[in-house]
Symmetry: C2
Amino acid sequence: MRKLTDFRTPFLAIELDTFYKNLERMQAIKPGLMLRPHVKAFKSTSIASILEQAGYSKFCCATIREIEGMITAGFGDDLLLANESLDVSGLSSVVEQGADLTVAVDSIETIDAACEAGIRRVLIDVNVGLPRCGCDITEVEHLCSHAKRKGLDIRGVMGYEGHLMFTKDRSQREKGVRKAMHVLGTAHSITGGDIISAGGTGTFDLNELATEIQAGSFLFMDSRYGTLDLPFEESLSIVSTIISKDLNKGRAVCDAGVKSFSMDYGKPSFKGGVVEFCSDEHATIRPVEPESELELKVGDLIKLRVPHVDPTIAKHPKLLGVKDGYVLEEWKVDLRDW
Amino acid sequence: MRKLTDFRTPFLAIELDTFYKNLERMQAIKPGLMLRPHVKAFKSTSIASILEQAGYSKFCCATIREIEGMITAGFGDDLLLANESLDVSGLSSVVEQGADLTVAVDSIETIDAACEAGIRRVLIDVNVGLPRCGCDITEVEHLCSHAKRKGLDIRGVMGYEGHLMFTKDRSQREKGVRKAMHVLGTAHSITGGDIISAGGTGTFDLNELATEIQAGSFLFMDSRYGTLDLPFEESLSIVSTIISKDLNKGRAVCDAGVKSFSMDYGKPSFKGGVVEFCSDEHATIRPVEPESELELKVGDLIKLRVPHVDPTIAKHPKLLGVKDGYVLEEWKVDLRDW
């Protein structure tokens, strides 16, 4: 059996026991159609297969590339592009071939683009507080009428309360979700339809309105989520080699840098030291206690925690599934890029 | 001829006129063997070919993957792995097949790894002030002796003054480079050899000691470099589509997010607005003047400036070369990953 040392660093490793425990915990609270796993988190049809075996058959995606790849891999049964796109024309052929595709729309332009691509099913994406996509609540009726005139099937609404994912206090988070979902509920009373699609890992068990939760990173857990009271644990880490160490043992350098992890939620962390400085191919590590010495040796493998899972996975070609130090799985990140 | 609108966003575009002007300006100051272009910046053998045609035949790389890819593409004549690696054993076969490879070493361990891989040529990497790799000046003699005992050919020294790349004042930068190169010169007096490899885009014309400058991003220019008095201009941008806009025209959202640009030097910038908030697949744009309205429409293509080129290119599968709005080149980023 292969060990971590058989692979060229840096790479991403998933502790399989933790990964499957996270999946079980999600199944216990949001089984089957209550969760629409978000492919954007892992961009891997291998992981989509595992989720399917666990009873999750309806996925959502953030990019056309993810949609195409999921359909090619046989996951074309009720697939949601949970994002606006003007470039859905490339999806015409998969729709013609029978893929059951729904897209999020929040403007006349995105409705028209869906229509021209032959896509028949939409969700009206409503802004519920995150300063990003989603129409204003006052626009829902107008967009609804336009979509109906175009002959589209409005399956319901979508509204992502992303501004609340990291609200630390659970009751504050819950209060925020209620407020956001009040907006989405109002929108739904206008659109009708079976679907109210919302939520994420941070609010998955607090969102009582959503008929389906869009979550994906619960399988891996951003280290930033660690400050929250969620029932999931970190399964993902960046495995890196110590390639240099200074004379006084006050500095060690590993071969993972900003090309192998995302810095938008801050630097990765590490038990045996402090990540002080990150460059393209390196992270410089200092002792936790200044003036003390690092225990690390040149050649050591270390595991860095991942502040932000989704854009970190998107930087890698594969995910290695590990149990008891052995690599049991090699999952391709086959839905990268655009 | 293809236009920008023929490609799915987000993607990276290079203004070819600016790109070639940057190359010419480098040729005027550091022609031929005075520059060892750094492949880490662009990870593309297509761009290596352009540099070769411009008279640059000796390259350096940061990863084993880059080295392998460059050798496979025929650039195996005096190639430098300008980084420490314990994992060079994978390079044994290319060395046996005649690739002329030199590696940077800064420890007994990296010397031994090179030796075991059959690599015969090394540079002693010396720390000249950046808190990263490179041995202490007091270790040079010991490492030199060890490398010689192992039968390695010590071609000289390497020392990257990366801590000075963004020092704004030119005379301060120059002073810093002199100080750093004093250390490297001392190291070179111990090692001997023909090569003193140092520098980068920010110090390329200030480093008078180096026999060769390691630079790559001068072709594209980080927007962060824009604050410096360098003779290069920004040629790279992220092309993205506006996919959503709010009712009051105070917010627009484009389809490029942290999966398509690196945030370690900050958010990308944009002439027609302020990038306020970046998420995985989106950037939210506000008007430059608060309370004013954005000129952007849903469907518009915009170009975002790139704060940090190298890790941004590493996120993309291709680079599109553009002239007068037409896409004339499609260069594969074929040396990504590890």
